[in-house]
């Protein structure tokens, strides 16, 4: 593992938009170098947790803190150094890349902001890391496939050499076969660079594939935290997690009775 690996601790996080409480109370700890997943349906507040960590959603209460293994100083949330160490990859590669900028320009912008030297070499290296050759460097996003775009988004995050990657449904806009490729790239990079992952997904199988610890969220509350092996083996304590697992198995035809009663809304 990377000696300078950073972890992340979130305590009592609360995010509200007006009267609507998106995240009521979320607390979890991601050890340096670990891979942590959050699952839930849409509206469970899982993406909002990520957005508030990197400052894209207003935090009403709670604390976000970076952890490190040695005694050094950790950057404060919101500081420029924090933003360099904590990078985010968004769900939809069709929406998250500037349509009128080439890949080169997209990758050069974070280098400009953080005033890093040797931009040429860094851009080449970042493209190489995600498995895109330098032939892609002067293309526009519309000339790339979905999987290639998501790799560019990943390269944009990696080019600052962050320690923590926030992944917001990084593969849900992709085909199954392309999803496998991107998941493999993510896994290889984590092993090679010693990154800490915080990943959000609605797909239990994807999260258990990539993460060691998993937090299940529903309506802005955390339901339970389990380790991947327990989840895969069905050793979970909450009914809601069980019903999510049943849904992940897919459609089973058994008349009208298969309508699983898990939609009643409102806090549990």
């Amino acid at each position: 593992m990377n000696a300078s690996a950073l972890g992340l601790q979130v305590q009592g996080l609360r995010v509200a938009y007006g009267d609507f409480v998106a995240v009521a109370d979320a607390s979890f700890r991601v050890e340096p170098g670990a891979s942590f997943g959050i699952v839930g349906e849409s509206g469970s507040g899982k993406s909002t947790v990520l957005r508030s960590i990197c400052g894209l959603a207003p935090m009403q209460a709670g604390q976000v803190q970076l952890l490190r293994t040695d005694a050094g100083k950790v950057p404060f949330p919101g500081s420029k150094d924090f933003r360099r160490q904590v990078q985010m990859v968004f769900q939809d590669p069709y929406g998250s890349l500037h349509p009128r900028q080439t890949v080169d320009r997209i990758l050069a912008e974070p280098l400009d902001i953080h005033r890093l030297d040797q931009p040429q070499a860094r851009i080449e290296e970042a493209l190489d890391q995600v498995g895109l050759g330098s032939v892609f460097r002067f293309r526009y996003p519309h000339q790339l496939s979905g999987g290639q775009r998501q790799r560019v988004a990943l390269a944009r995050a990696l080019i600052l050499q962050p320690q923590v990657l926030l992944l917001d449904e990084p593969t849900s806009a992709l085909d199954a076969s392309v999803q496998a490729e991107v998941l493999n790239v993510l896994e290889r990079l984590r092993a090679r660079l010693g990154l800490t992952f915080l990943m959000v997904s609605h797909d239990l199988a994807v999260v258990t594939h990539l993460c060691d610890q998993i937090l299940v969220m529903r309506h802005g509350h955390s339901v339970e935290q389990v380790c991947a092996a327990d989840l895969a083996a069905g050793r979970v304590s909450q009914d809601y997690t069980r019903s999510l697992m049943r849904a992940a198995e897919g459609f089973v035809r058994s008349g009208a009775s298969m309508l699983i009663p898990i939609t009643p809304k409102g806090p549990p």
């Binding site: 496998a180 493999n184 896994e187 239990l204 199988a205 594939h209 895969a232 069905g234 459609f251």
Partner: protein, 289 residues
């Protein structure tokens, strides 16, 4: 009502016959690029799945059948028949009369495919009145009944809501109501659940399933999700680069012969199985020949 024997006879005769369907689009140099190549199948009163990655031509096949291909498309086929009618010889007006009434389509994302400035109720009524003249009050009654049939709890309330005021699952139910209100014989569902949560997905699928089996219509279910299709449909066609590479009964999918089908099945992460790295598709050029 039709007699049961009548229904049985109807079940055997194909609703849709597609033989040698080709769809091509011009590229910037004016050359025609084929996107669907020599696709043939028949559809009876069954659930037929059409599976492939993006760009495999599965949606283009569905759109060509409905006559909704983008302008500039060149469509040809040896046979393209819907209940004995040659679709390629139809005038645009005849195609339009068929669409919505005899054949309908459910689209992927209710957020983008519903009209944002009309209430759900207005849209359901509109699709009803496009094909049959009826007084507004009767149309509203029928629309409400249709919304109830897709298990929207509070149909009156949903009737007067705009698309942005409903959830994805409710929007998709409303779209299904809109498509089924004219009681079509053929329903083409193009990724009807891909934009929905897993749990809502199951509910929408169960709804589609019961509606299709009740009304004995033919369903062409287009999806990229091979596992979902294999559980939902009776028969599956697998497409790769515009061609059908394999046809297989859904319950025999695990015995699929074509390496592409096997690869698609294999590359999904599975709960309870640790496979690192995941197998990826090794695309061979001979598949697309």
């Amino acid at each position: 009502m039709t007699e049961p024997t009548d229904l049985q006879a109807k079940a055997c005769e194909p609703i849709l016959v597609v033989e040698g369907l080709q769809v091509a689009y011009p590229n910037r140099e004016g050359q025609m690029v084929p996107v669907v190549r020599d696709v043939s199948f028949t559809l009876g009163r069954e659930r037929l799945g059409l599976v492939g990655e993006s760009g495999s031509g599965k949606s283009q096949t569905g759109r060509a059948i409905l006559g909704l291909s983008a302008p500039g498309a060149r469509i040809s086929a040896k046979r393209l028949e819907f209940r004995g009618t040659n679709l390629l010889a139809c005038t645009p007006a005849q195609r339009r009369a068929l669409r919505g009434q005899k054949m309908a389509m459910v689209l992927q994302d209710p957020k983008y495919s519903l009209n944002p400035v009309m209430t759900i109720g207005q849209q359901v009524c509109e699709s009803l009145q496009a094909h049959a003249r009826m007084p507004p009050r009767a149309a509203k009654e029928k629309a409400l009944a249709a919304l109830r049939a897709v298990q929207l709890d509070d149909a009156e309330r949903v009737f007067s809501l705009y698309p942005h005021e409903v959830s994805g699952g409710m929007g998709q139910r409303a779209m299904i109501a809109m498509m089924l209100i004219a009681q079509p014989e053929l329903l083409i569902a193009d990724e009807p659940t891909s934009a929905l949560d897993v749990t809502v997905q199951l509910e929408v699928l169960a709804l589609l399933d019961s509606l299709v089996s009740q009304s004995a219509m033919g369903l062409l279910f287009i999806s990229h999700d091979l596992r979902l299709v294999s559980r939902f449909c009776d028969r599956v066609l697998v497409m790769y680069r515009g061609k059908i590479v394999e046809e297989i009964a859904a319950h025999q999918l695990h015995q699929a012969q074509h390496p592409y089908t096997q690869g698609l099945l294999n590359c999904l992460p599975r709960l309870g199985q640790s496979r690192h790295p995941l197998p990826v598709l090794d695309r061979r050029p001979e598949w697309s020949l």
